[in-house]
Amino acid sequence: MQEATFLILTALAAGSQHGYGIITDVQAISAGRVQLKAGTLYAALERLRADKLIEVDREEIVDSRLRRYYRLTPAGGELLAAEAARLQANARVALSRLKPATGSVT
């Protein structure tokens, strides 16, 4: 899974969000490193929706503009959990091997 996809699913993990909310949230989660552009975001949302990993939660009109809120489907939640576990396992191995055999980590 690509990092942008992973971060979009992560942004939706705690609850539904609209497009701009996802962009700012992804930026916050990645500490400013990943700044999604609108074209990229909607290509990803379209794909995730087609693969039934996310779905439309509700629509609102704010300042006469449409806001569509997306949320994870159960399948999306499972996929994110599996991917997170995989990344965590990799990271754990990396960190443990970097650790000096005898001393503690500084």
Partner: protein, 215 residues
């Protein structure tokens, strides 16, 4: 005209690059995102933002929008026997392994630069294992390998065995090298003939559990 109305008009012009169906569904939403991300006194779309929109719009129009967002998918390698592998490498088609990739929404078939197809899952009318001797017309030539196309049928194979016939419910434009051609029927040689036919069959619901989606 105020700055924001001017900017919105510019963004609308950019969004016109997208296919109509996508625009109908998402234009208002994307506009809202673009406007929310704009500065107070911004008058024109940022260059990077504009390039990004045009890129994704083009991908979508060319049927390539699948791009790198491949998730929750299963891969079925296309069978290539040894002599064909040598030949295809010589012609430059064998550098990336030819394959059929399948997500719950899309079927993607690729053989090097010579063949690419992105087929919506719901367009697959049927899929079945096919014997060599069932092939008709020019496809009866038993040594045919690589990508062959005749009358709406594409034969994408690296071997004469393991053939799977995929019938679509309508014509779908696919890439034959640099050319586009309408395709109604696709025959591929699969490593695992039965598994591909079963997985493709519309009656079998796409099950992410049976595959190994992310590893």
């Amino acid at each position: 005209m105020s700055d924001s109305a001017h900017l919105e008009r510019r963004y609308r012009q950019l969004l016109a690059c997208y296919p109509r169906a996508f625009r109908y569904e998402h234009e208002q939403e994307i506009l809202a995102v673009l406007m929310a991300g704009a500065d107070e006194d911004q008058q024109r779309p940022r260059l990077g933002e504009a390039a990004n929109l045009i890129k994704h719009a083009l991908w979508m129009r060319l049927g390539l929008s699948r791009g790198r967002i491949m998730i929750n998918e299963r891969t079925f390698p296309i069978r290539v026997d040894r002599p064909s592998r040598t030949l295809m490498t010589a012609f430059g088609a064998g550098r990336k392994a030819p394959l059929v990739k399948m997500s719950p929404s899309t079927v993607y078939v690729r053989m090097g630069w010579a063949f690419r197809a992105m087929i919506p899952r719901e367009s697959v009318a049927s899929a079945r294992p096919l014997n060599r001797d069932e092939l008709r017309g020019p496809f009866r030539i038993s040594v045919l390998r690589g990508v062959n196309y005749w009358g709406g049928t594409a034969l994408v194979n690296g071997a004469g065995t393991g053939l799977v016939e995929i019938t679509l419910d309508r014509r779908k434009w696919v890439w034959l090298g640099p050319l586009r051609a309408p395709m109604r029927r696709l025959i591929v040689s699969a490593e695992d003939q039965t598994a591909l036919a079963v997985a493709l069959n519309p009656s079998a619901p796409p099950s992410p559990d049976s595959g190994d989606p992310s590893l």
